[in-house]
Symmetry: none
Subunit: 148 residues, 2 copies
């Protein structure tokens, strides 16, 4: 079971290249998983990186719940799959973020990787910082969720 942990700040150069953090690369290799998939998050303004095996797994799960003859459900599936790219790691250990996705997530020079269990999220640093600005709300939600 893959488990990415940690938060790494990095810089994207003008060419759209970002060093893929060594911690995560090790985690990836430990799973014998080399390839990454990238897509825009459905809800949030960030990018999601999947080890290919995790991606396939989620795809299977989704597919199994959808009726392929139902137009609306088929549309959901299409939206999920469309816009996904494979993301090779270059000789320097860097990844190249497609322009399309850079814009979608409003990535500037400063970005942040966030280990999210079995996926990794990639945020514009400024956007990520503002995430942590709402401790009160989080506190309440957590309190409600974990109350037992």
């Amino acid at each position: 079971m893959v488990r990415f942990i940690g938060n790494i700040d990095a810089k994207m150069d003008e060419k759209g290249r970002v060093f893929f953090p060594a911690v995560f690369r090790r985690t990836l290799q430990k799973e014998g998983d080399e390839a990454l998939m990238i897509r825009k998050d459905i809800h949030q303004n960030c990018l999601v990186l999947y080890p290919k095996s995790v991606w396939n797994q989620q795809l299977d799960e989704l597919r199994s719940r959808l009726n392929r003859w139902n137009a609306q459900q088929q549309m959901v599936f299409r939206q999920f799959v469309a816009g996904v790219d494979e993301l090779p790691i270059d000789g320097n250990g860097r990844i190249l973020i497609p322009k399309r996705l850079q814009q979608m997530a409003a990535l500037q020079a400063s970005v942040r990787f966030i280990g999210m269990d079995d996926t990794i999220e990639l945020w514009a640093k400024e956007t990520a910082d503002s995430l942590l600005d709402n401790p009160a709300a989080l506190g309440e939600t957590l309190e409600a969720l974990m109350d037992f």
Copy 2:
């Protein structure tokens, strides 16, 4: 059950390394737990150290209650893991505090470890000192909580 007790002052060097107090290390080892997790406290201006097993337990607990396809619940999970890092103990028994977190907690050379039951807090010494100045509020809260 882990239970950390005590206040220990220590010094952080220019590289951001701090000796992890021997008392706590023993407690940790007694649990067969080697690794630590670190994050900024949600409410206070300090850092929290979790034995990895405690952290994983909380994470699993949370994960099992959340639906990853639900935007709001995914956000809760994200906020929970955002800012967390793994914190290995080096050959000298020291930990290396990530720059990002040093700044968040305004750590200088003088720091203080505070045993908080199953976690350990790490404060800038000056900040910790000024906290003890408010016994009145503590009294009230305790009174309200323990009234039965």
